[in-house]
């Protein structure tokens, strides 16, 4: 099974360990993983900012780079959701591209969804030990139905205890450029998220989207919490968190 890893622009720039962890998990599941070297971004920042032309240009680039694989896997519900839920909308006026984008959408998966529903992993290589609380990212949850998958995978780690936070499904306030444009509101939402997460007394806040995690960690540290870890689900499952 030839799988292309969609690194995501955030993991590439901000946290390579997330992409390495995803790579390790996919190889652990028996996949032949390739990393298309010209990949940059799925185009979501442009799409959500109203720059449809740039979004289309980047979506076409992704189509060209990722079409030839059996599956495309991204360690992000946000980027996965962009390809699956929004690419077909971008190409609604172009039958040929629409068909191609629908084909790609059907083969594109968020990482935990792929590990659970395609690879049906029995075990994961990680060795994390401690209590974790899971933040459901909006795009993954509401565009791709990512809810049970990460929890099922965490349950395969004997040392992990899951403590659910209040309002786990409420937005952390990231929202891409929203976090810059409406900084005060965004910070307030991040603060609510930190409060709910910390109330569980978990050792780590875990999630599936780096944008949310940077936002949550950023607020957590500013609140003075240097202890609680903020980890991507791939890092926990693969055992490569630093």
């Amino acid at each position: 099974m030839r799988v292309a890893l969609f690194v995501t622009c955030l993991a590439d720039l901000m946290r390579p360990s997330v992409a390495f962890a995803a790579l390790r998990l996919l190889e652990h599941g028996g996949c032949t993983v390739e990393v298309p070297q010209t990949q940059t971004c799925c185009g979501q920042p442009a799409y959500n900012s109203g720059d449809r032309a740039t979004a289309i240009a980047l979506a076409r680039k992704v189509l060209d780079e990722f079409e030839g694989f059996d599956y495309v896997v991204a360690p992000s519900g946000s980027c996965g959701g962009m390809v699956r839920a929004h690419y077909p909308e971008l190409f609604r006026d172009d039958p040929a591209l629409l068909a191609r984008s629908e084909g790609l959408a059907a083969r594109t998966y968020e990482l935990t969804d792929f590990l659970v529903n395609v690879l049906r992993l029995d075990s994961v290589p990680g060795n994390f030990s401690g209590t974790v609380t899971y933040h459901d990212s909006c795009s993954g949850l509401r565009e791709l139905n990512i809810k049970a998958q990460p929890r099922a995978l965490l349950a395969k780690l004997p040392g992990v205890k899951l403590a659910e936070m209040k309002e786990a499904e409420t937005c952390c306030g990231f929202g891409g450029t929203f976090s810059l444009k409406f900084g005060a509101v965004s910070t307030q939402l991040a603060d609510n998220k930190c409060g709910n997460a910390c109330a569980t007394e978990a050792d780590a806040i875990v999630g599936g989207d780096l944008g949310c995690l940077l936002n949550i960690e950023g607020r957590l540290r500013r609140r003075g919490d240097r202890k609680t870890q903020v980890l991507h689900i791939a890092e926990v499952l693969a055992g490569q968190s630093d």
Binding site: V7, C9, A11, D12, L13, M14, P16, S17, A19, F20, V35, Q37, T38, Q39, T40, G43, P45, A46, Y47, N48, S49, G50, D51, R52, T54, A57, L58, K61, C138, R142, E143, E169, T170, C171, G173, F174, G175, G176, T177, F178, S179, L180, K181, F182, G183, A184, V185, S186, T187, Q188, L189, A190, N192, L214, N215, G218, R219, R221, R222, V230
Partner: protein, 468 residues
């Protein structure tokens, strides 16, 4: 109503720091969100119901002209007078003229967001006619120097019982009391004689039923019944999009509306108004006027925001919106707050007067997933952002930033170089703590948050190194 939507950021920031307001807003999660979730769980297959609601509203909108004409025919056949208003000014003029022709001095109003939208109270006052809000929340706002509502269903959610205690003490000159039941009793004692002396009652309409020519309102306080039956005239004002074909359709929508709004299986009152008092009836108004307001709605019907016209005004989108929960409805600066306001306000008053609104959301789609008629609210907000881009309504730093980033992201070699530099610079800024406390171009982020610094090399760099 003065439009203050372009002040969203400043007003939102002020509201974030308002401890009393925050306390009031906290109730939304406790009351509206939890109550809706319980009502939905108790109902069972709410998804099927939502889909049915969507289909009914779509069917009505697909032949809106025919259903409106049918509505008018049936209403007139039962003795009502139907008026058509193209815009707010015309709607106000119609109501003022009805009042003048009938020597009306005072008007008892039950809650109506369309009357807020058209600025009816101001128009009545200008014409020397006294409007009296009889919904408790709206009454509180009216005596507080005509403060605008901050929520379409719970207009005073931004106020605490303490605020109301102070207000009643000051405006009524009565001893200060804080018990909500006592406050309600006080308002009732003041309002009761006004109902009895009012010459005209004004209501909204949650639905217009084409097959019977009836208007329908859902209320919890009972004031709606008094407004629509005691005075000698009843004027119902609503938007033209509120029409549905049949009573059967309304019964489906009535299963959705209260559950989505307040978590009630049904409101305390559901009132159908079909014509004025009949010759063999003892109660009811002598005249029944229905004012159907367009005010921008047909323009929506023909455009990309069409799906917004399905809205049945339950308020679930704002109740579940984390931004609304944090800043309250006044930040939106016009009649409709929250996700619905992000779409309706630009659509009705103009994109240039509401620049922040389509962007004042994380697109988390909590709103879309609770909407009883499945309006894809985030998709509509995104389309408005596209329109802003096309019309040059985005700030130049945003446009420049996007253009540069978009240009680079289409050139992998250049992009790789740029990210390598960025990763190193940010690592340096992060220092030993690996946290950036201040980023010059990202104060919006770093004013309230640190920025976790990257490792210093990009994944693709490291991947290639490992492969060698």
């Amino acid at each position: 109503m003065h439009i203050r939507s372009n002040e969203f950021k400043a007003r939102a920031a002020a509201n974030l720091g308002d401890a009393k307001l925050q306390k009031g807003l906290g109730l939304i999660k406790v009351k509206a969100v939890v109550n809706r979730a319980n009502a939905v769980a108790e109902f069972g297959d709410f998804e099927t119901l939502r889909e049915a609601g969507k289909q009914i509203r779509n069917r009505a909108l697909a032949d809106l002209d025919l259903y409106l004409e049918r509505f008018e025919r049936e209403a007139v056949a039962r003795g009502a007078v139907v008026h058509w208003a193209e815009n707010a000014a015309e709607a106000c003029r119609i109501v003022v003229n009805i009042a003048r022709e009938n020597g009306v001095k005072t008007v008892a109003k039950s809650k109506s967001m369309v009357s807020e939208e058209i600025g009816l109270n101001e128009a009545l006052i200008e014409a020397g006619i006294e409007p009296i809000e009889t919904d408790l929340g709206e009454y509180i706002l009216q005596i507080n120097d005509a403060e605008p509502p901050s929520h379409i269903v719970m207009p005073v959610i931004h106020k605490t019982a303490e605020d109301v205690a102070d207000l009643f003490h000051e405006k009524h000159g009565t001893p200060r009391k804080t018990d909500p039941a006592a406050l309600t009793r006080e308002a009732r004692e003041i309002l009761r004689p006004k109902f009895l002396s009012a010459d005209m009652g004004v209501s909204g309409a949650n639905f217009l039923i084409a097959e019977t020519g009836s208007t329908l309102i859902v209320t919890n306080e009972g004031n709606g019944r008094l407004c629509t039956t005691l005075p000698r005239l009843h004027v119902a004002i609503t938007g033209i999009e509120k029409v549905v074909p049949t009573l059967e359709d309304v019964s489906t929508l009535l299963r959705l509306l209260p559950r989505s709004a307040t978590g009630q299986a049904i409101t305390n009152y559901v009132s159908l108004h079909t014509g004025p008092k009949h010759i063999d009836e003892s109660d009811g108004p002598q005249q029944f006027h229905i004012v159907l307001v367009d005010n921008g709605r047909t323009k929506l019907l023909a455009g990309e925001m069409r799906e917004m016209l399905r809205c049945i005004r339950c308020g679930a989108c704002m109740n579940h919106c984390p931004v609304y929960q944090a800043v309250g409805g006044h930040a939106w600066g016009w009649v409709y707050p929250g996700p619905m306001g992000n779409i309706l306000t630009p659509s009705y008053v103009g994109l240039e007067k509401t620049v922040p609104l389509p962007n004042a959301t994380t697109l988390c789609n909590q709103c879309g997933s609770v909407c009883p008629v499945k309006i894809p609210l985030p998709d509509l907000m995104r389309k408005l952002r596209e329109e802003q881009m096309a019309r040059g309504l985005k700030s130049w730093p945003e446009r420049l930033g996007l253009a540069l980033w978009g240009w680079a992201a289409q050139r992998p070699a250049l992009y790789a170089l740029g990210t390598r530099i960025a990763a190193r610079v940010m690592k340096g800024l992060g220092g030993a703590e690996k946290l950036i406390h201040r980023l010059p171009l990202a104060a919006g982020w770093t004013d309230g948050r640190d920025f976790p610094a990257p490792a210093g090399k990009t994944f693709r760099e490291l991947y290639r190194e490992k492969r060698k």
